[in-house]
């Protein structure tokens, strides 16, 4: 929010020039121009009559989707597996993130805080698909590799968010319990934990929504679920089947999004 206006100060005749903003705007414009120049992609190719025709033909092959009962059952099973991968991955990440958030919030000293943050940053900075490619080597092809990959990346994300909400939570309830002679664990479990639980679950649900999308994709490197089916059918040019799988993906994403939005609304009425 604009501070000057919010504080009710009389607006100046002209807003003061913000040199940093101008520099930033020029910098961003230059970066965008450089990016397009560096990539030097010929987008005219995309709108040329020939490639338009090819694209239209390619897209046209997706219709009508394959709705034979056998294939729909296969797609539904794939969707269920994708959901399982995302859900288990998120739960594991909640546990791992929670465990790492405690040191990352500075509860065990400065050294532990820095070490935990480094681990979290590393887990977070490696994309899920890369983790999945690694885990496929470790655990073999299949949904388990995808679950581990999601768990590792999401641990990094949730751990950081959890650490921040732990740091932002008011310390006085825990201090009160500690001063009254309660143990560290009890004080944490009954004073600070209830303050951050709702937010923590909301974060996890939000990540679950993203993980559903990601789990659908992880199959591309052989980690099971809808993605693996989609990659398979696209690579043998069975677009009708691919269309069914895309619809299944859409339905799954929509269902999980609505459910999670509903639960999150219940959890955090003040922020909904």
């Amino acid at each position: 929010m604009s501070q000057a206006l919010a504080s009710g100060a009389a607006p100046p005749e002209r807003l003061p020039r913000c040199h940093a903003c101008i520099a930033l705007a020029i910098g961003i414009a230059a970066a965008i121009a450089w990016s397009f120049a560096y990539l030097a992609v010929d987008y005219r190719q995309l709108v040329s009559a020939e490639s338009m025709r090819l694209m239209a033909k390619f897209v046209g092959e997706f219709f009508p989707p394959d709705v034979s009962p056998a294939f729909v059952a296969k797609a539904a099973w794939g969707a269920l597996q994708t959901f399982a991968v995302a859900a288990i991955g998120t739960v594991l990440a909640m546990l791992g993130g929670g465990a790492l958030a405690l040191p990352a919030a500075g509860r065990f000293g400065v050294a532990a805080r820095l070490a935990a943050r480094l681990v979290l940053n590393f887990l977070r900075s490696v994309p899920e698909l890369v983790w999945a490619a690694l885990m496929v080597i470790a655990a073999g092809l299949g949904p388990f590799a995808g679950t581990l990959a999601l768990a590792l990346h999401t641990t990094g994300v949730l751990g950081r968010l959890y650490a921040e909400s732990l740091e932002n939570a008011p310390m006085s309830p825990e201090r009160a319990l500690r001063d009254a002679g309660s143990g560290r664990l009890t004080a944490f479990a009954y004073a600070t934990l209830p303050l951050v639980t709702a937010q923590g679950i909301a974060y996890a649900l939000y990540r679950l929504e993203m993980n559903i999308r990601m789990a659908a994709v992880l199959g591309f490197v052989g980690a099971g679920g809808l993605g693996q089916l989609l990659y398979f059918h696209l690579s043998i040019f069975q677009q009708a089947q691919a269309a069914t799988l895309l619809i299944a993906m859409f339905v799954l994403v929509f269902a999980v999004d609505s459910l999670s939005a509903f639960v999150r609304g219940r959890l955090l009425p003040a922020q909904a």
Partner: protein
């Protein structure tokens, strides 16, 4: 766990006030997760299974030392620049896609909504249709779009840029709409009621209140785009991902670890840049 000291002094054992709720939650969670574990083929012991463990151990042992040959580093620098360029160009196009859609979908900019106007149903219909377009754009993951555009444009960064433009266009559009509607919309309404055009109401009433939030979300999405453009390399859309895919397929651990370190550096730099940009805008 020690019971509260005061209770101990009185010699009483207080019941745990949160026990029942937490126990119920735990039981429900286990009941729901159990079948999912089976479905996800959750078998941690596979990790330590002779064959797999050996392959992974060999591969991981190859991670050290990271590859530092001049030839590979040159390749890596080129791929890194390409990744950043894909993310930046993709976000720029996504912004162009998102802004008009967001303006169309924002309820607080609707003129027909103020009074009983003949086009009222038309306006509401247009907003719903725009929202549906935004949903379709972002429902399909960027990697799938990339796979489709690779068919059209051939292997290379172009497919990645377009995939980002489509998916992130949908995401930015939806979130811009939400941000514009969640702020204080009374000033926009006042302007519209006084007969101002919608674009003026947008720039003089809604944007000043929400500029920082809009900018910081866009920067956050750019950060995500950097990560996503890594991922899209796996389907042949150029950049670091393509390099990583090649190194992984050849089980070249040294190269893979150099690339992983580059990811880490890239994310840290992107983080730092978003902090700087947000500070300037504050």
């Amino acid at each position: 766990m020690s019971a509260p000291a005061a209770a101990l002094e009185r010699g009483a054992t207080l019941p745990d006030p949160a026990a029942r709720g937490r126990l119920t939650a735990l039981v429900v969670a286990i009941a729901v997760l159990w079948p999912l574990l089976a479905l996800a083929e959750f078998k941690p012991w596979q990790l330590f299974d002779g064959g797999n463990a050996e392959v992974m151990a060999n591969f991981l042992a190859g991670f050290w030392p990271p590859a530092t040959s001049a030839e590979f580093l040159a390749l890596l620098a080129k791929a890194t620049l390409e990744t950043i360029a894909i993310a930046t160009a993709g976000i720029a196009l996504a912004f162009v896609v998102a802004v008009p859609l967001a303006v169309l979908a924002t309820r607080s900019l609707s003129v027909s909504r103020i009074g009983p106007a003949p086009q009222r149903a038309l306006g509401a219909g247009a907003r719903t249709a725009t929202r549906a377009v935004l949903t379709v754009l972002r429902a399909i993951p960027e990697v799938v779009w990339a796979l489709v555009f690779v068919r059209a444009l051939g292997l290379g960064p172009g497919a990645g840029v377009l995939a980002l433009a489509v998916t992130y266009g949908g995401m930015l559009g939806k979130v811009y709409t939400e941000i514009l509607e969640s702020g204080d919309t009374r000033s926009a309404r006042a302007l519209l009621e006084a007969g101002s055009p919608r674009i003026a109401a947008l720039f003089y009433a809604l944007v000043p209140n929400t500029a920082q939030e809009l900018a910081s979300y866009t920067v956050y999405r750019w950060e995500c785009a950097v990560r996503a453009s890594v991922v899209m390399g796996f389907v042949g859309a150029g950049g670091l991902g393509q390099l990583m895919d090649q190194s992984m397929k050849m089980l070249n651990g040294g190269e893979a670890s150099t690339i992983l370190l580059t990811f880490l550096a890239l994310v840290v730099v992107a983080d730092a840049m978003s902090v700087v940009i947000r500070k300037v805008l504050a």
